[in-house]
Amino acid sequence: MIINHPILGPRDAAEFVYKGDASLINRPDPQSDNAAERFYEYGYLRDNPAGLHRELWFHEQGDRSWLVVTRDTTTHEITKVELARDVARAEGRSR
């Protein structure tokens, strides 16, 4: 596979390490009332879609960026690649 890195351009997938569902960005607020329940869901419950999947890849043999890659799990077509940091900010993880 080739991942089109937002900064570095097309790079072979062999340079990356895969982590999993990009929902891992949405770490619950430990202060929330049902924090235990939400951490359980965060840690253990994942969707496993046949189709579009947003997932985390780490450019370990590159610039060490974490990326959010939108990939079709049935075709491996990659439709979007974003810096995970940008996604995290967009999803409200800024202070």
């Binding site: 596979m1 951490f39 974490w66 077509e77 800024s94």
Partner: protein, 983 residues
């Protein structure tokens, strides 16, 4: 002359004669021959024995789809089994041998299997060798493997090298027949970066095997001219002997180039083969088509081959495959073979299954007839033909060409999600479904069978592909070519045929397919696996469609209803060597050497691999005959005076930024915000699920600057995790991370004299006395007169100890200096083993204790998990299941009888209870002999262990026969109060 069956013409070089042997007999051939063509030219038809029944077999094809003529090439370390004689290029001195026969190819004792064939049908192994169960591995399988098999391996290491390489192009064209050449010409002239790859050693596809393809010129000549033209274009790379083996994601193709297979041995510095990874923006599959046989009784005798192969042997290699020949066909293409052979003076008869077969005065045509049996033990001597009238006629012939139509080579289109679809008019599967992205198909591979159609579709595919890339292309003139219509009437097998081979490589007969259906293996995938049809090394290139047709026939269905299996990479078999490339022996993977490696080598250190690192395990001294002597001495001397150990392999991560302390508060379970500058703290890192991930230290060099250490094994995962936390969870923290593991050489200097030793090298302006540099202090200093260094007063051994770091390039010098300066203290270097003994004696956890199942609570560090702040893993570590009253707790264990051993992996049981899983109380994680206590000791997890100090429990290991009593003690065997640390 090179052989009695040599004709005139052909693309061989008669002036270069090559001598070779087959089964020890000397023959000669020409440059341009394959092993198969050279043997046929010498009148040798019998080239192998079949897989299961040991039937005599000769070549069925003239290319890579060959199922039968499988031989061993070369000898000694270069011996190569299971090679196709039809693709092996002849070279002078080639040694080839037949395989799967004993004692000889002509008299094969295992041919007795053929007599037992009524018992050896599909599923035979599954039915027969089921009982008794234990016999399978010990008796049945070895016997079966010996009887039914392919070639044998040479047992010496392969002396040749194999490479891997990367290629990039706008357009990859797979196959250099008429379609591929037309595409390459068009794309090449447009200026695009083109790679044209073909598995053959002469490019041209059927242009070099057939006659009459072009109107005004010889096809082979046009192919040669076109290849020369392409070679002159700097933007085109023409690669012969290069098989595209797989279509992968995003336009990536795998390709094996056989650089030196056609030479006795590779030229100096050249590899035998190269595995290329080709990155293409667009690709065109122009892989042609493969002729398919018709299935009839005894259709596997040497001398029976595909009609197109006969034609190729006659036209390209100038070899007659028989003195009197027949062609059995269901389509017009079979007649082309007859015409070519007749023009070469070979007497030919055509048996055409179609009642309306074309008639010609050039040869006899038997319309509406079929071949119903054949004769000849080691090679064809006669055939029995059933005429349209129903009467039979015997023909005395020694060559039979068979043509059942053509199958487009759709293989690469299936490597992703493509599913071939049935084309009624061609009676064949053509590419269908979703093709690999960027791939289009042209020529016969797409079902465009005429030469004209191949040229045109090749050019059109190139224009289209370049257009997609925004490249404008002209359309170079292409030659006028034959455009014969495809006339085929499906005819798959002669009714009633039983011992009629469908898959000749795996010896699957028409009867086997019927039996599989009868036994209810009705899905095409089940049929394949039960009969092994198409599962040999040729992936059923010549057999799959006939198998499907017979299955459809017995099921009363049409072929499209039965469906088809699809193909996986590789297109043709690939040598393991080229997949490994340079990754073999010592270069299998890189080795990381510590800064003191060469010094340690000089000392005669024994090394052990830790991850990729080579670490000194111990340093044997003269007179020491057992490793324990060395390790005990290193431990005792360190605790008595001073020892030095290279701990560079520990991961080091530099953490900087105004939020560095806050960041460490997140990744460590314990707090770091209040750690003063100049101090170091032990840190425990949890996974988000609350399990301990790693431990180490963080030293605060400045308000906004920490140096974190990790365990050797987790250096990479911990860094990855910290980057995840930084970028994905706390994107706005002002903190930067970088791994400095290899930037600093770091040594532990441990023992009561460690300070005295260091004082000799630390520059005098730095006070490292107990007051000036107390336990857990850290700082940036200089040593040896100005060399920058970092000093940490931390201890893994439990002694007064320091870790000193200098830039890596000074690591070797520092070790030598420490040893020199330490002579007055009888300093010892100590290895990984002594390091392990001392940390067990001190009760420090390591990887054995942080084993991916244990929590801070288990480690006895439950209170370290701060409730005052959020950190990764703190929430889920509170789960009740991880905090049961009888949770495992880390304890020390000591044998009651001091001669008994403590064994890592052994389990702990309460005295008087049964030894079973239900009563299990825990297990030993680390064990060693403690030279300080004079007995074996261990660390382990025990239920409620913290409350059971002093209890005697049973240590059991049923596997190794261990069962004795041990006492539960504090994990801190040595200096439990930690006085030495603070000395």
């Amino acid at each position: 002359m090179t052989g009695k069956n040599r004709l005139n013409g052909g693309l061989i070089d008669r002036s270069t004669s090559f001598g070779f042997t087959f089964d020890g007999v000397r023959y000669s051939g020409c440059a341009g021959d394959t092993l198969a063509s050279a043997l046929l030219a010498n009148g040798v038809r019998l080239m192998g024995r079949s897989f299961k029944y040991h039937r005599p077999r000769g070549p069925m094809t003239s290319g890579s789809e060959e199922p039968n003529a499988i031989v061993e090439l070369r000898s000694g370390a270069r011996k190569e089994p299971n090679t196709r004689a039809t693709t092996a290029e002849l070279f002078d001195g080639l040694v080839a041998n037949s395989q799967n026969r004993w004692p000889s190819l002509k008299w094969d004792a295992m041919a007795i299997n053929d007599l037992f064939s009524p018992f050896l049908t599909a599923g035979f192994y599954y039915k027969t060798f089921m009982w008794p169960k234990a016999f399978w591995e010990k008796l049945y399988e070895p016997i079966i493997r010996r009887a039914a098999g392919l070639g044998s391996l040479g047992h010496d290491p392969d002396p040749d090298s194999y490479d891997k390489g990367f290629l990039h192009c706008d357009l990859l064209i797979i196959g250099a027949g008429p379609a591929g050449l037309a595409a390459a010409l068009t794309a090449g002239e447009s200026g695009a970066r083109v790679i044209l790859a073909d598995e053959d050693f002469v490019l041209g596809g059927r242009l070099i095997a057939d006659t009459g393809m072009l109107a005004d010129e010889d096809g082979a000549a046009w192919a040669a001219e076109t290849v020369a033209r392409l070679n002159s274009m700097p933007n085109v790379r023409v690669m012969s002997r290069s098989t595209v083996i797989g279509a992968f994601d995003h336009g990536i193709y795998g390709m094996v180039e056989r650089v030196s297979d056609h030479l006795p041995e590779p030229a100096p510095g050249k590899p035998r083969q190269i595995l290329w990874r080709v990155y293409s923006k667009r690709a065109i599959l122009a892989g042609g088509a493969t002729e398919r046989p018709i299935v009839f009784e005894n259709n596997d005798r040497p001398g029976i081959m595909l009609a197109s192969a006969m034609r190729a042997y006659a036209n390209r290699w100038a070899v007659s495959t028989g003195s009197a020949v027949a062609v059995f066909t269901n389509n017009d293409d079979g007649h082309r073979t007859a015409a070519d052979l007749v023009s070469k003076g070979v007497k030919t008869t055509v048996i055409d299954t179609r009642p309306d077969a074309p008639d010609t005065a050039d040869y006899e045509t038997l319309a509406g007839a079929s071949v119903t049996n054949t004769q000849g033990r080691l090679g064809l001597t006669a055939i029995e033909v059933t005429l349209s009238s129903g009467t039979t006629r015997s023909l005395t012939i020694d060559g039979l060409g068979v043509s059942g139509g053509w199958n487009p080579n759709v293989h690469l289109t299936c490597h992703q999600r493509g599913r071939p679809q049935w084309d009624e008019k061609l009676a064949a599967f053509i590419p269908g479904g979703t093709l690999p992205s960027g791939l289009s198909v042209a020529g016969a591979a797409s079902g465009a069978f005429s030469t004209h159609a191949a040229l045109q579709t090749g050019q059109a595919a190139a224009v289209q592909a370049l257009g997609d890339l925004g490249v404008k292309s002209s359309t170079p003139d292409l030659p006028t070519a034959e455009d014969a219509p495809i006339r085929v009437t499906p005819f798959w097998h002669v009714a009633g045929a039983k011992r009629a081979w469908v898959d000749q490589q795996n010896d699957v007969t028409a009867k086997d397919i019927k039996l599989a259906h009868q036994e209810n293996f009705r899905s095409v995938e089940h049929l394949k696996r039960y009969t092994t049809l198409g599962m040999a090394t040729d992936q059923g290139k010549t057999s799959n469609i006939a198998g499907l047709a017979i299955m459809a026939d017995v099921a009363g269905k049409q072929i499209p209803e039965v469906g088809t299996t699809i193909f996986r990479p590789p297109y043709t078999p690939v040598a393991m060597g080229v997949l490994a490339g340079r990754s073999r022996d010592k270069t299998f993977r890189p080795v990381r050497k510590t800064p003191s490696h060469y010094w340690a080598e000089e000392q005669g250190a024994v090394f052990v691999e830790v991850g990729m690192w080579m670490r000194a395990q111990w340093f044997p001294q003269p007179g020491e005959t057992h490793w324990r002597q060395s390790v005990d001495r290193e431990v005792l001397q360190t605790r008595k005076s001073v020892g030095v150990c290279d701990c560079t392999t520990l991961g080091k991560i530099d953490v900087q930024g105004t939020d560095a302390a806050e960041f460490l508060n997140k990744v460590y379970a314990n707090g770091f915000a209040k750690l003063p500058v100049g101090k170091t703290r032990y840190g425990l890192m949890l996974r988000e699920d609350g399990i301990a991930m790693d431990d180490g230290t963080a030293a605060r060099l400045a308000d906004d600057h920490f140096v974190v250490t990790t365990t050797t094994a987790n250096a990479v995962p911990v860094y990855r995790h910290m980057e995840f936390v930084r970028q994905c969870l706390f994107p706005d923290m002002d903190v930067q991370l970088i791994s400095t593991t290899e930037a600093w050489a770091q040594y532990a200097v441990a023992g009561p004299n460690s300070r005295k030793l260091l004082q000799k090298i630390v520059d005098p302006e730095f006070d490292i006395s107990n007051d000036g540099f107390p336990f857990m202090a850290c700082g940036e200093i200089t040593v040896c007169g100005g060399l920058r260094a970092r000093l940490f007063r931390i201890s893994f051994s439990g002694e007064l100890a320091f870790e000193i770091a200098v830039p890596t390039r000074y690591g070797d010098a520092l070790m030598r200096r420490l040893m020199e300066e330490g002579k007055e203290f009888d300093v010892v270097p100590y290895g990984l083993e002594a390091l392990g003994v001392m940390r067990i004696e001190k009760g420090h956890a390591a990887g054995n204790e942080l084993n991916g199942t244990t929590t801070a609570n288990n480690l006895g560090m439950g209170r370290m998990v701060s409730k005052a702040k959020d950190s990764i893993g703190s929430k889920l570590s509170e789960r009740p299941g991880l905090n049961e009253a009888d949770a495992l707790k880390l304890v020390g264990l000591k044998p009651v009888n001091s001669d008994d051993k403590v064994v890592a992996g052994a389990h702990l049981m309460t005295k008087g209870t049964p030894v079973d899983a239900a009563h299990d109380q825990g297990y030993i994680t680390s064990a060693c002999f403690s030279p300080n206590l004079g007995c074996h000791i261990g660390l382990g997890y025990l239920k409620s262990g913290d409350t059971r100090i002093g209890e005697i429990v049973r240590l059991v290991s049923p596997l190794t026969g261990v069962d004795h009593e041990v006492e539960v003690v504090s994990a801190h065997f040595v200096d439990p109060e930690g006085e030495r640390l603070r000395a």
